[in-house]
């Protein structure tokens, strides 16, 4: 008899071990946004998972697993009464008191793991006239009795522009927002971090570097008159002055920068998100075409217009890298600006190193046949390999676009 019991007990456990090693989703979180206003008021916007509220308050009245708005809406006062006391804010040693204003309309929001109730109210904290925020103590106890793995993710902003993020929960239910005065300290350090990320992305982004190199190689030359196809490279004439080269580089870099800034911004804010494989393939194609155009004139339009078009594609590529750094909406200004600046610094460094050398060598046969000829062929070969790799990965049957 004892043996049978042991076996049954073990069965459950044996299976449990296997599953537990493949954690399936995120545990419970809530998202709390605190906006600190000048006269000591705090606007609270608290997103709490309906799934968690159901576990606690049984919102699903008919137990059918589907939560309707009609099941949730009438219970809203109850949700407020349940959640509000689990969050306490203290300023200057005094509790902040929720204002007795008419409650805002019930709202729902969507997060990665489902729908959340949006609870909003305003609390009044003690603040002597003429004083500023000192430090705000938060005590967070939501679901503390039932789920110690629950976390409250707090995003706060103050009127001064200061902002920050905290993670609260059973291990650390109490934390303090500390203020440093007027300057927004979190903006500049994070800006700097994203500048470095941007530089890093250029430094390791061989495709972007080779695209720029292809352009720069012939920026010290120009193609006067009707373009001749054959023999290769012969249509190019060295520019007579350094100034001409510098002007061309300025045009190209500006066109590229403006273009990739536009698409980076659009992608970062989720306005446009083209398929990654096409973006990556088009980036490879842009490198290939830039290199080929050095050898044989492909484009009749001014070079900067072509560069602008390809810059749009590269911008989507930068956006992919930026997204991987893990950002939240609403805090994109510093990352976007910093990352873009970093990318540009990286490009300028490349220009600063290569341009003087190229300008010096631009009349030599070594430059013509070795640097531009050999270099462009090498770049074209590498770009072809990338293009095949990137297109092949997903679109074998379609064929190589642009050929």
């Amino acid at each position: 008899m004892k043996n049978v019991k042991l076996k049954l007990l073990l069965l459950a456990l044996a299976l449990l071990l296997l599953c537990s090693l493949a954690q399936a989703h995120k545990p419970s979180d809530s998202y709390l946004t605190l906006t600190l206003r000048d006269a000591g008021q705090v606007d609270v916007s608290w997103h709490i998972a309906l799934r968690d509220l159901d576990t606690e308050l049984r919102l699903d009245h008919d137990d059918d697993g589907q939560l309707t708005w009609g099941e949730v809406r009438p219970r809203w006062p109850e949700l407020m009464n349940f959640a509000r006391p689990t969050l306490s804010l203290r300023h200057e040693g005094q509790d902040c008191i929720p204002l007795a204003a008419p409650p805002p309309e019930p709202q729902i929001d969507t997060h990665t793991d489902g729908r959340y109730a949006v609870l909003r109210w305003t609390a009044q904290c003690t603040m002597r006239p003429g004083h500023a925020w000192q430090s705000l103590d938060i005590d967070y106890r939501l679901f503390a009795l039932t789920d110690p793995t629950h976390r409250g993710i707090v995003h706060w902003t103050a009127a001064s522009g200061e902002a920050g993020t905290l993670v609260l929960g059973t291990p650390r239910p109490r934390q303090t927002l500390a203020f440093h005065g007027h300057s927004p300290p979190s903006f500049w350090p994070s800006l700097w971090r994203f500048v470095l990320d941007g530089v890093h992305h250029i430094a390791i982004g061989t495709d972007h570097i080779l695209f720029l190199m292809s352009l720069l190689l012939v920026s010290v030359w120009h193609r006067p008159g009707p373009a001749r196809w054959w023999p290769p490279l012969t249509a190019w004439q060295p520019r007579s002055t350094w100034g001409g080269s510098a002007g061309e580089v300025l045009r190209l870099v500006t066109a590229f920068t403006v273009a990739h800034s536009i698409t980076l911004g659009l992608a970062a804010f989720g306005v446009l998100s083209p398929p990654t494989r096409w973006v990556e393939s088009l980036i490879a194609l842009s490198v290939l075409l830039a290199a080929l155009d050095n050898l044989l004139p492909l484009f009749r339009a001014p070079r900067w217009t072509v560069v602008f078009a390809f810059g749009l594609v590269h911008g989507f590529g930068f956006a992919g890298a930026l997204q991987d750094l893990g950002l939240s909406r609403g805090e994109l200004a510093a990352p976007l600006l910093g990352f873009n600046l970093g990318v540009e610094l990286g490009q300028l460094a490349l220009v600063a190193v290569s341009l003087p050398l190229m300008a010096l060598l631009r009349r030599t046969p070594l430059y013509r046949w070795g640097f531009v000829g050999g270099g462009s062929v090498l770049i074209a070969v590498m770009a072809t390999v990338w293009l095949i790799e990137r297109v092949f990965d997903t679109t074998l049957s379609v064929g190589v676009p642009g050929f």
């Binding site: 071990l17 537990s20 939560l67 709202q107 110690p148 911004g265 398929p275």
Partner: protein
């Protein structure tokens, strides 16, 4: 110019809370089915436990049932509830043995292997006939690659009369230590005599072994049977990986389309979309990216293996994937952990990074057909 654009676009960023249009609108699907009797009973038990917060027996039952529900759904929220049930004892240095055992299970689930092992060893000092503690200990040690210590746990299971579990545990270890074919045969023999209630567990071990040996038809048959007789998220994920390796992505899509709440399964679905050039790939990749970011925001790091696969195969970022795979390898050492590190190291052209894995495999004596392409 860039600056102007940034400030211009920054003004557009906002969340999107909304008010549902009608009372009849379904705003959240909690489950694909009505509340089960099990879950209803669990809620009743929880209400009872709240009345008697110091009743250890009640808390133990509540936690154990939550852990079982977590296993079935693959939902860590149940694990949180289990931990909540044990709250009064959770921080004690030496809680009563049944509670300590459950604490070890929950810690292990959070990949806190060291404290879990400490709890298990304390339980075993109190009660060396505790089969659950031996089995959990064996599993952790196996996952972390400490095979000789795991073996002592398997032997102990046999020694205290839990011989089916002990033998299966030993065979799984020897199949990882260069005796795959022999272990396979012995396990077949064991299953013929084992009580039927152990089939799901034994079949899952068997399916894994079959895959390592390259016995694909047998592995497929086992997975299919398991998913009919004892379906759960773990088996579904393992089968999806098998199908992806066989190029049967359409089958994966068919099976997983309706299970998108589970991150691990959503990853497999995205990989299947990538294999079939499905138009839904990009939306799925965006969803996964958001979920990994959300996990990171709360400070989680238990998904590194999955995240490394995501970074390598879907984002095509071998360097990021390699870092994740290395961090994961420092914690756990199953064949799937080795595979993602080997793949990422090759894609990132960093052979040296694969060295620790190659050394481990050589030393342990793994022979795994799935790893062959990456070990040449």
């Amino acid at each position: 110019m860039a600056f102007m654009l940034v400030t211009l676009v920054a003004g557009l960023a906002h969340g999107a809370p909304f008010v549902p249009k009608a009372d009849s609108e379904v705003i959240e699907t909690l489950r694909e089915r009505p509340l089960s009797d099990e879950e209803r009973a669990w809620r009743g038990l929880r209400a009872q436990a709240r009345q008697h917060p110091n009743d250890a027996a009640l808390a133990t039952r509540l936690a154990r049932q939550a852990i079982e529900l977590s296993r079935r759904d693959g939902d860590p929220r149940w694990m949180g509830q289990a931990q909540g049930a044990l709250q009064a004892w959770w921080s004690l240095p030496a809680p009563p043995t049944p509670i300590r055992l459950l604490r070890a299970t929950i810690l292990q689930n959070q990949h806190d292997f060291a404290p879990a092992l400490r709890d298990l060893e304390a339980v075993l000092r109190q009660d060396r006939y505790n089969a659950q503690a031996w089995l959990t200990r064996a599993a952790i040690l196996q996952v972390t690659g400490r095979y000789s210590e795991a073996k002592t746990s398997c032997d102990a299971l046999i020694g205290i009369g839990a011989s089916w579990h002990g033998q299966a545990c030993s065979l799984e270890l020897s199949s990882l230590q260069g005796q795959g074919t022999q272990a396979w045969r012995s396990l077949q023999a064991l299953i013929r005599q084992a009580p039927p209630d152990l089939y799901p567990w034994l079949n899952l071990i068997q399916a894994e072994m079959a895959e390592r040996l390259g016995r694909r038809d047998e592995a497929q048959a086992l997975y299919q049977r398991l998913l009919i007789t004892a379906p759960d998220a773990y088996t579904e994920g393992a089968y999806a990986d098998f199908l992806l390796d066989q190029g049967q992505a359409h089958e994966v899509i068919k099976r997983l389309e309706q299970q998108q709440r589970n991150d691990g399964l959503l990853l497999r679905l995205a990989l299947a979309y990538a294999q079939t050039q499905d138009a839904r790939l990009d939306a799925t990749v965006q969803a996964l990216r958001a979920r990994f970011n959300a996990a990171r925001e709360r400070g989680d790091s238990v998904h590194r293996r999955e995240e490394a696969r995501f970074a390598l195969h879907l984002l095509k970022r071998p360097d990021t994937a390699l870092q994740l795979a290395q961090a994961n390898w420092a914690v756990q050492k199953e064949p799937a952990d080795a595979r993602i590190l080997l793949e990422a190291a090759r894609a990132a052209r960093q052979d040296a990074a694969a060295r620790p894995v190659r050394d481990f495999i050589a030393q342990a004596g793994w022979s795994d057909q799935r790893l062959k392409p990456w070990l040449q």
